[in-house]
C-alpha cells in the first residue's frame, strides 16, 4: 500500500555507486485516478531545500526500469500503475545530508477525454489539478 501523500517518506535515500554517493532518490505515487502510458506523462522539476533539479535531468524508474524523460516521451507501450510508486533518481555529488529536507516534485499526465486546455503543462507554475501538479512534503528524512 502507498502513503496518502503523493511524495512518499518511504524510498527516500541517497544513491551509492561504486562506493560513492552520486545522488538521491525519491518515490512518488500518481495522484491521477488512472494509470498512464509513459508518453502521457509530463515530468517536471524537483526542488529540494530550494535547490532546483531540471525536469530533463531526472531519471524515472517505473516497474523496475530506468527511463530518461526523452525515452518516456516516446514510450506508449509501458505503463505506470496507480498502485505503484515511481522512483525519481536525481544526480547530486555527495547526495543529501543526514536529517530533514523539504521536497517538491512537479508532474502531470495527459487526459484526452477532457477539453484540450487541460493538457497544457507548464513546468514553471504551481497549477495543480486532478491529473497532476506540484506536490511538496516537508521534513523528508535522510538517515
Amino acid at each position: 500500500m502507498l502513503e496518502a501523500d503523493v511524495i512518499q517518506y518511504r524510498g527516500f535515500h541517497n544513491i551509492v555507486e561504486d562506493g560513492k554517493i552520486t545522488g538521491f532518490q525519491v518515490c512518488v505515487r500518481s495522484d491521477y485516478y488512472r494509470g498512464v502510458w509513459l508518453s502521457q506523462l509530463r515530468p517536471g522539476r524537483v526542488i529540494v531545500d530550494g535547490e532546483l533539479f531540471p525536469w530533463d535531468t531526472i531519471i524515472w524508474n517505473i516497474n523496475g526500469k530506468d527511463y530518461t524523460t526523452a525515452e518516456m516521451a516516446e514510450n506508449s507501450t509501458d505503463f505506470w500503475h496507480v498502485d505503484k510508486p515511481a522512483i525519481l533518481k536525481i544526480k547530486k555529488d555527495g547526495g543529501l545530508s543526514q536529517g530533514f529536507h523539504d521536497v517538491t516534485v512537479r508532474f502531470f499526465a495527459s487526459c484526452s477525454y477532457m477539453p484540450p486546455s487541460y493538457d497544457t503543462f507548464d513546468d514553471n507554475t504551481e497549477f495543480t489539478s486532478f491529473n497532476g501538479g506540484t506536490y511538496t512534503r516537508k521534513n523528508m528524512c535522510i538517515v
Partner: protein
Amino acid sequence: MEKKIKRGVSIYSYSGEYGRTMDLEDCFKDMHDMGATGIEILANSHIDSYPVLSDEYLSKWKSLCETYQVEPAEYGHWIDTRLYKNRNMTGEEARRVLINDFQIANALGFHVLRTKMGVINGELAPFPEWKEVILSVLDEAAKYDVIMCPEIHLPSLLQDQFVLDYVDFINMTGTKNFGLNIDLSVFQNRFNVEGVVSYNQDTRHNEPEDIIPLLPYVKCIHAKFNRMDDDFNELTIPYPEIIRVLMDNGYEGYLISEYEGINKNVPGYVSHELRKQHVMMKRILGY
C-alpha cells in the same frame, strides 16, 4: 417483481483510497455489503498488470466475483488521442489498444465497455476520426462480444450533435457492438449546493424525459452522485423522476454508482455515501 434495473458500483468511486487504504478485494466486499451486483472497473486503474492480463489477476478476479456474488458490468477504457506531447495517436495505434482491451474485457467476463473517447473542445465532442477508428474494430468487437459505449457526461447534453452522430452511426451500420453510456450528470439541476464543486458553469442540463428516445441505444447508466443527505436524497440530480422514467420506459440494465463529491480520500467516507445512495435507489426502485 422482475428486477430489470440492477444496482452496481464503479470502483472509480474509491479512487481516493485505492492503493492506499483499500485494495481490489475491499471494493468487492463493500459492494457485497450494499447488495450491489455489478462492478465497473477502469482497466487503466484496477488491472495491476495492464496492458497485459496476468494469470494471477484473472484467477483473483474470478474468485472475487464468485465470493462476493458480483458480476462484471462495465469495463472502462480509453482512446487516449493525446498520447504524445507532440502528436496524436494514429488510427492504427488506437485500433491496437482497443483490440487489446476487447480481449482483456472478454477474458474477465465483461460485455459492456465504457469507451472514453478523446475530445476536441469544451462540449466534449469526440475526435473527428472516431468513426473510422470504431469501424476498423467492429469485427473484433463482435468476435469478443463487447459493446463500445462512449459516455455522455456533463457539460454535454443528450441532444448535442455528436450524440445524434453516434445514433446515426448505430443505425447506418446496424452494429450491435456500439451503444451509449449515459452519465446522470447531464440531469444535474442544482449547482449551488454546499460541498459540491460545479464543473458546469452555464448550468445547462437535460430533463429526465429527454432520455426516452435514446433508451434503445443505452447499454449502461452511470448513477453519478455528488451529495447525499441523511434522509437518503441526492441533492443535485432528480433521482426519483429519472428512475421513474427509466422504469416506465423499460430500461433494462445497470445503474452504476459513480461518486463525484468531496472527501474521497477520507477513509470510509465514500463507502458511507454509497450506502446512502443505494438506500435511495432501492426505495425508488421498490426492490
